[in-house]
């Protein structure tokens, strides 16, 4: 190999503490180095031209640049050598700025270290091989998991662009948490009025396939070519036949079924359509509440159904969808306040959660939009809101801020005053977090126009006194203990990761943080990508988010998918593992450790079993390489011989 070495002075960034000329001179003593020089700014246009000129003049087959971090300019130089006709992987960088000149002032020691780093780079380069990206066709269908507002937005954007969309929703209807909200902050517009049309859109788009009351069972494949198994859970109603007329609900004798959509505040029938705007608007039998399933007798719904849609023998069904990209928009769940025993949630009917209050406020809610308290149906005169229940509290393992509660408390207080002008609202809070557009103004309105009393301090205890509740807490601004008597207490429960989030992450092979929120690829610059290529995030599954942020992310994820699908094929990173079949012993250790399921069995003609890398799935971590006993599987560009060459350059 003919190698050229270019030592960058980086102005004085390197040259002031490294003798770059001596480093270049020394490089000429290394094997295969036929050209070496130092240059003021190697990354500049003339600097790159210098490299390209030397490649031509000295017939270089490999290039080492000793300069800044490869994380900074490896891509730049790879492009430069590629333009000059070299394979982009016949290039190595020695980091003599961040790792040498900037961290030490002893010029002698720095120069020596720079020489050794160049030597290591040369020795590695001598064992480099040209690598070529392969192209795989893209299946231009997209799977959206989760039919909340983020998922709906993503699905609609993709569908508008002409893509085939598969939308999977775990619940009976799409709409997510937003469908349960009465109004939205800070505009106080009706939640279902703005979400409803989008839900209808989903139902009407011909290129959206909706699997409601369904869950993702398994995901295999890789970017451009995923295979997804979806389990359609049994509803005991043939949705092709059901017209959503609601006759069954009327006649169903099991009217005492707990109404989950209404957050357990009311009752419904065993066969149910969760709410009037549900999409799809189809009935489902809740098996554990149904008289027929309990006793074998009843069948009222079956008799009454005008389209004969009821089938008690229905079973779960599996469908398989092939897609090229996946958007995960599985949303969030709300913190269960049970750990706060001193607040009495669940024990006292008039201590409720924010989402329950949302249903109370809703015209389609359990009380038809009349603000009443659950215990006796009386209109409350005093309402206390308690902020940060399950947020910013290490004692319940929820140290993070849920982001939305400050705002929804303000909204609910305002709405309560709208509904019952005489009601007095109190808010116990730690800090008010209202950084969105028009958000702080909204909170100020609650305080100033609606007279909501904000008390800065934590609530210590909530207990009944007569038919009212006593809220004991501190007012840290006054430095005094306060006690407020209220008819209704609303706990602003925080956001937590959706139940089952971790299990789904395992199926998708994406990372999640310790609270179960999915990890984006980069917190600033790759906010909707994951580290699994072809899987994108939208909405609160990535972390607490309000509606505008979720919608924005839904659109962002859709745009990522559209960008991906703008091409017909996808180039794969060739720095992946490869198997030398003649050495593979078929022990399967690589298969068992691969975090991406990128290795599969291949049977040779002689019947022997060998590992095979799915290059498009492999992410290039090298775990298999470290695990393989005979080292038959090698991570390209980071092979054993390449790493050993670097090591041997230092000591042997």
């Amino acid at each position: 190999m003919r190698i050229g070495v270019f030592v960058c002075q980086c102005g004085t960034n390197i040259a002031s503490t490294v003798d770059t000329g001596a480093v270049a001179q020394r490089a000429l003593d290394y094997p295969d180095v036929v050209f070496a020089t130092d240059y003021m700014y190697t990354c500049s246009e003339p600097g790159q031209q210098e490299i390209q000129k030397a490649i031509a003049e000295h017939r270089l087959q490999g290039v080492v640049v000793a300069a800044c971090s490869p994380r900074m300019h490896e891509a730049t130089f790879r492009r430069a050598v590629e333009k000059a006709g070299l394979n982009r992987y016949m290039f190595e960088m020695a980091n003599i700025r961040e790792h040498v000149s900037w961290i030490g002032q002893d010029k002698g020691a720095n120069t020596l270290k720079a020489m050794e780093l160049v030597r290591m780079a040369v020795e590695k380069l001598r064992r480099n091989e040209p690598l070529f990206a392969s192209e795989v066709p893209i299946n231009k269908r997209v799977l959206v998991i989760g039919g909340g507002v983020a998922g709906i937005q993503a699905a609609l954007d993709c569908a508008d662009a002409g893509l085939d969309v598969v939308l999977v929703e775990r619940e009976q209807s799409i709409g997510g948490k937003m469908a349960k909200l009465d109004k939205t902050f800070p505009t106080i517009d009706c939640s279902s009025c703005i979400l409803g049309p989008k839900m209808v859109d989903v139902a009407q788009k011909e290129n959206i396939t909706l699997h409601a009351y369904s869950e993702v069972e398994a995901v295999s494949g890789y970017i451009g070519n995923f295979t997804v198994k979806i389990r359609k859970k049994a509803t005991y109603v043939d949705w092709d036949a059901c017209t959503g007329c609601g006759l069954c609900m009327e006649k169903c004798p099991s009217k005492k079924t707990v109404d989950r959509f209404n957050e357990n505040l009311g009752t419904t029938s065993a066969i149910q359509i969760p709410f009037p705007q549900a999409i799809p608007k189809k009935a489902r039998i809740q098996k554990d509440a149904c008289r027929y399933f309990a006793t074998g007798k009843c069948k009222v719904c079956q008799k009454i159904c005008p389209t004969n849609a009821i089938h008690y023998d229905m079973e779960d069904r599996e469908v398989v969808e092939e897609v090229g990209a996946i958007i995960v928009a599985t949303g969030y769940d709300l913190f269960d306040p049970a750990p706060y025993g001193e607040y009495g949630a669940g024990r006292y009917p008039d201590v409720i959660t924010g989402i329950q209050f949302e249903r109370i406020l809703s015209a389609s809610g359990p009380f038809g939009g009349h603000v009443k308290r659950p215990s006796d149906g009386k209109e409350p005169k005093d309402i206390v809101f308690v902020a940060c229940v399950g947020s910013r509290d290490k004692s319940v393992d929820r140290p993070y801020c849920s982001g939305i509660c400050c705002m929804y408390i303000a909204k609910q207080a305002i709405l309560a005053r709208d509904h019952l002008p005489g009601v007095q609202c109190y808010v116990f809070y730690m800090d008010i977090r209202s950084p969105g557009k028009n958000y702080d103004e909204f909170v100020r309105r609650a305080i100033e126009e609606y007279g909501v009393q904000y008390i800065r301090g934590r609530v210590g205890k909530i207990y009944p006194r007569g038919d009212r509740m006593v809220v004991q807490g501190a007012d840290t601004l006054l430095g005094a203990q306060v006690e407020v008597e209220a008819d209704l207490v609303v706990l602003a429960t925080g956001v937590e990761s959706s139940r089952g989030a971790k299990e789904l992450a395992e199926k998708l092979r994406i990372s999640y943080d310790q609270y179960g929120f999915y990890m984006e690829s980069h917190p600033k610059l790759r906010p909707v990508e994951t580290n699994t290529a072809g899987v994108y995030l939208a909405g609160a599954c990535q972390g607490p988010k309000d509606i505008p942020a979720s919608v924005a992310q839904g659109s962002a994820a859709a745009s990522k998918v559209l960008a991906l699908f703008a091409r017909d094929t996808i180039a794969t990173d060739p720095q992946v593992a490869g198997v030398l079949e003649s050495v593979c012993i078929g022990c399967g250790k690589c298969l068992s450790v691969c975090p991406f399921g990128a290795i599969q069995w291949k049977t040779l003609r002689d019947g022997s079993r060998k590992a095979e890398v799915l290059e498009t799935v492999c992410q290039g971590c090298g775990l298999c390489n470290a695990t393989c006993p005979p080292k038959a599987i090698q991570l390209k560009h980071f092979t054993d011989d390449q790493i050993l060459a670097e090591l041997d350059a230092l000591c042997a």
Binding site: R2, L28, D29, Y30, P31, D32, V33, V34, E123, S582, D648, A649, A652
Partner: protein, 353 residues
């Protein structure tokens, strides 16, 4: 006895020290921590010399080191020449005289196989030749054959002088050392004292006795044809070889296995060309560049080992490439018995009642 001296037990160390003055002296010696672990070691004062014990490994490494640099090379960078460097090769070597003292006759005889290949074949190996010329073999007439020994079966015996320059004959209080070759005579002159007539007589008696002793049953020297006839008999080879682990122990302890591999061990611009022991029981031995291996399993490999020693070498050089030392049998982890394999080679006529 032409030239003989008596070496009392008490003067053994003195004699070895004297020989060490102008030669490397190799003796069977116990390990410091494991006295029964006897190997050939370079003599040094305090070494626990064990002429009474058989060495685990043969003395082969004295003339044929486990690895040796055939040459050293340096590529001197010079961009004015097309290669970008000038190659400097250094194959100078210094081989001091050596003495192998107290090996068994089989050990010394084993080198006759080496000689055939390294000295008397179409190519003379200068590395081996120089050592061979400068090394004197003093063997001890063997009186303690064990169950693995079979020197007589390959045409040798416990008093075989072939390959030895001098012979030690153990007496109760010392050794009679008798020269066999000129080189041996030169060595004998340097040590010991004049033997008494009784000592000479006792040594003669011992030699006679040892010379008549048969170690190992039958003869294994004329198996060439039988081997060829058995070559394709898979059941035969499986029957004997299923238990073989395919390690290289048998070849590495063998005094006559001379196969080697040559590799370049380089770092940066300099390195060495190494010759090191190889074994026909190893997979890489016959692995071809295409990836094909004509001896894919232990059956083919072991068959080759038997064939080489008792057939191919015989037809090429007229002698078996085995000295009957029994090390391969004695130390085999699963006691594969090459004698039994060779003995069974001839197809037995079915005896009908």
């Amino acid at each position: 006895m032409e030239k003989a001296v008596f070496l009392p037990d008490t003067e053994l160390h003195e004699a070895l020290a004297a020989l060490s003055a102008d030669a490397q002296v190799w003796v069977p010696a116990g390990d410091a921590s494991k006295p029964d672990l006897v190997r050939f070691q370079r003599y040094r004062p305090g070494l626990s010399v064990r002429l009474d014990a058989r060495s685990l490994v043969s003395a082969k490494e004295v003339l044929f080191p486990r690895s040796e640099a055939l040459l050293r090379f340096v590529k001197e960078k010079d961009l004015s020449v097309p290669a970008g460097h000038r190659l400097h090769v250094d194959d100078t070597r210094t081989v001091p005289p050596a003495v192998v003292f107290g090996c068994r006759p089989c050990d010394a005889r084993g080198f006759l196989t080496f000689d055939r290949v390294f000295l008397q074949g179409p190519y003379r190996d200068p590395y081996y030749a120089e050592r061979r010329e400068k090394t004197t073999f003093v063997s001890l007439v063997c009186r303690d054959a064990d169950g693995a020994c079979f020197c007589s079966a390959v045409g040798s015996g416990p008093a075989d002088p072939q390959g030895s320059d001098a012979q030690l004959i153990a007496l109760p209080d010392g050794y009679v050392l008798r020269a066999i070759t000129q080189r041996g005579a030169a060595l004998v002159e340097k040590i010991g004292r004049g033997p008494t007539a009784e000592q000479i007589q006792a040594a003669r008696d011992m030699l006679d006795q040892a010379g008549r002793e048969m170690v190992g049953e039958g003869s294994l020297t004329a198996m060439d044809a039988a081997f060829r006839a058995r070559f394709q008999d898979a059941a035969f080879w499986h029957g004997h070889i299923d238990k073989c682990l395919s390690c290289g122990l048998c070849t590495f302890v063998c005094p006559t296995c001379y196969c080697f591999t040559i590799t370049d061990e380089a770092r940066g611009l300099s390195g060495e060309r190494i010759r090191s022991w190889d074994a026909c029981m190893f997979p890489h031995f016959t692995l071809e560049a295409s990836g094909h291996n004509p001896r894919p399993s232990k059956v083919e490999r072991y068959r080759n080992r038997v064939g080489h020693k008792f057939s191919y070498f015989v037809s090429k050089y007229g002698q078996v490439a085995c000295c009957g030392c029994g090390r391969c049998i004695r130390h085999c982890p699963v006691s594969v018995d090459i004698r039994a394999v060779v003995r069974d080679l001839p197809v037995q006529e079915e005896v009908h009642a």
